[in-house]
């Protein structure tokens, strides 16, 4: 009912369970693949590390750990300690961090309607970095109450707060008469990022040698500070972000037609934009506060998902989270074994791996970009 010319119902080419008619991976296939990659990465990550643990021991240790979590006896042999206290939380932190970064990257690309967008555009990473710099360099002199009240969480709390605060500034600068102008926000983000960079430069200048090195190391990014409490916090933040992002998938699809058209389709465009910024800031803020700057995941993961499974945000959002998790866990496995017993900063590795892969991808799909 409703068609003007009486035509028989048109049959679409049959979509198999695994492929769409357009030759892309179907949503369920793509997400299954993503989950499989995460699992593979986690198994690889669990089995690699500077401390020698025979892979055969791992299931036993994991089982012991699970039992002790529920109140059973704790076996404190060295392998148990290393795996349960050092390697496992770091693995889970990698999953949470990668998921948060991938998800935020996909959200930003949908929001800015541009495949080159990156969570850093809204200033959350540079805000966290600036706050970390202030804490490291000026904290001793001007903020002595910080460690008194927050102890070893002082740096994380400041970095998180800084990320959110700078994002709020960028967001507000992008407001015109109650609407968010994406173009304006982009420019504001560029300016604020430059300002944060200058602030960091100044802090580097006034810092002592020791503070400078600490700041540099923080900026390079690492999963080294992954204790269980930190893992729990970051996982909670990323889980909340993921739940909130679910509802944004279809509105973001409509926004791909342009904000005016999305509005005419009944999408609450302003609310969607605000939510996307908040969710991305929460995820990236929590991750960056704990791990420092890990780049490229938010840019690359959504790209690859779109290449295999198409641009529908209902697959790009969860897919980017899964792929991001797999990428970070894999990169970290390399970072902590390639120069053992030392370790490479993770942010350096993601750039070294991410850039060539990104360029290869660009070459192969020149026409589509």
């Amino acid at each position: 009912m409703g068609s003007v010319a009486p035509k028989p119902a048109v049959e679409l080419p049959v979509a198999s369970r695994w492929r769409t008619p357009a030759g892309r991976l179907s949503r369920s296939a793509a997400l299954l693949l993503g989950a499989a990659l995460v699992l593979l990465a986690m198994v690889w990550g669990a089995a690699s590390g500077a401390y020698a643990i025979a892979p055969g021991q791992l299931p036993g240790i994991a089982w012991d750990g699970l039992r002790s979590f529920f109140g059973g006896a704790v076996d404190s042999g060295p392998e148990h300690l290393v795996f349960l206290n050092i390697r496992l939380p770091r693995l889970l932190m990698g999953v949470a961090a990668g998921a948060g970064l991938g998800l935020a990257g996909a959200l930003m690309q949908g929001l800015f309607r541009n495949p080159l967008a990156d969570p850093g555009l809204i200033g959350v990473s540079s805000g966290a970095a600036l706050a970390a710099g202030i804490t490291i360099v000026l904290g001793g002199l001007y903020l002595p109450w910080l460690p008194r009240h927050l102890g070893s969480w002082a740096l994380v709390a400041m970095a998180f707060g800084g990320g959110l605060a700078v994002t709020a500034v960028v967001y507000v600068l992008g407001q015109v008469q109650g609407t968010t102008r994406i173009g304006l926000m982009l420019l504001a983000g560029i300016a604020i990022n430059a300002l944060a960079g200058a602030g960091l430069g100044f802090l580097s200048f006034v810092s002592t040698d020791e503070q400078l090195r600490n700041l540099q190391m923080w900026l390079l990014g690492s999963l080294g500070a992954s204790r269980w409490s930190a893992v729990a916090l970051v996982s909670a933040a990323v889980a909340v972000s993921a739940a909130a992002a679910l509802a944004l998938a279809r509105p973001l699809n409509a926004i791909a037609l342009g904000e005016a058209q999305a509005n005419l389709l009944g999408v609450a465009v302003e609310k969607t934009k605000r939510r996307a910024v908040m969710v991305a800031a929460l995820a990236v803020g929590a991750v960056t506060a704990t791990t420092g700057i890990i780049g490229f995941i938010g840019l690359v993961a959504p790209h690859w998902v779109r290449l295999i499974a198409g641009p529908d945000h209902r697959v790009v959002l969860p897919g980017s989270a899964l792929l991001g998790a797999a990428l970070v866990v894999s990169a970290d496995a390399v970072a902590r074994t390639i120069v053992k017993p030392a370790e490479l900063p993770l942010g350096v590795l993601t750039a070294f791996i991410g850039v060539p892969l990104f360029l290869a991808m660009l070459r192969q799909f020149r026409s589509k970009v």
Binding site: G2, S3, N114, P115, R306
Partner: protein
């Protein structure tokens, strides 16, 4: 057609057409009926697109109001409006490589909570109607201008494919839908719009450049004539050669085509109006 349709109207009440803080291009005070195909015509710069953006609610009126079914546009709930009114823009750039079918499926977004009967078939049927069903799996950014336009037309049709439950009239507003289309597709599209107005009872309003298309397919015209003023009414009554001379500065000879439709042949005029 229920009584509702005959009463449903898009009214411009003393509508001042012009950009904010810009010159007043026209003052429009008309009532556009559902169930009729109304073409908006006028020379360049007369304010056709500006008027269309006000009819759609994208732009605030310079003065006056736009009322749909007696209620100001801004007072209508956005989601409810989207279920019974669709808009085809002049051009629409799509971010990312959505397929034509995915784009048309986006037209069903307002109905995601209340899917219609045969919901899954609607995008395919709409694409068949505008002749882009064979392009369903192609990325929309790889299509030609005409194919893209027909995809967006299919999307606009899909959005209002079925009458709403309360029987209210549907509205379809199009800004230069034939601009990118070739000859055959232009006529096909115009025929489609006329049928939607007549048989579906939808209110169809389209900005068109081609007077002959309006003459052949439209029921009513709204002419923004600049200095010559605003004229509204049945197409044969309003679009007289005298008005054409006044508004477009062209002399035209009325002729009948072999199928009996009134068309104008334009004569190049040596003296242009001041």
């Amino acid at each position: 057609m229920s009584a509702h349709h005959r009463l449903s109207s898009l009214e411009c009440r003393n509508l001042g057409v012009g950009v904010a803080k810009g010159p007043r291009l026209a003052t429009v005070d008309v009532r556009i009926q559902a169930g009729r195909f109304t073409a908006i015509l006028g020379p360049n710069g007369a304010g056709k697109s500006t008027l269309m953006s006000m009819l759609v609610g994208e732009r605030a009126p310079q003065s006056g109001q736009v009322l749909l079914d007696g209620l100001e546009l801004s007072a209508h709930a956005v989601e409810g409006l989207a279920r019974r009114r669709s808009v085809m823009p002049q051009d629409c750039s799509v971010a990312f490589d959505f397929t034509a079918q995915e784009v048309v499926e986006l037209g069903r977004y307002p109905h995601r909570h209340q899917p219609g009967a045969g919901e899954a078939q609607i995008p395919a049927q709409a694409m068949a109607l505008t002749g882009v069903d064979h392009l369903a799996q192609r990325s929309i950014n790889t299509l030609s201008g005409g194919e893209r336009a027909r995809t967006h037309l299919a999307r606009a049709l899909a959005q209002i494919w079925q009458p709403p439950a309360d029987g209210a009239a549907r509205w379809l507003l199009l800004d230069e839908p034939t601009a990118a289309l070739d000859l055959a597709h232009q006529h096909h599209a115009m025929r489609l719009l006329r049928q939607w107005a007549g048989q579906q009872g939808a209110g169809v309003v389209a900005v068109i450049h081609d007077l002959n298309l309006a003459l052949r397919y439209a029921d009513d015209v709204l002419v923004l004539g600049g200095d010559a003023g605003v004229h509204h009414g049945a197409v044969q009554d309003v679009l007289q050669p005298a008005l054409v001379r006044q508004v477009w500065g062209m002399q035209c000879d009325p002729v009948r085509s072999s199928d009996g439709a009134l068309q104008y042949i334009f004569v190049a005029d040596t003296a242009l109006p001041a």
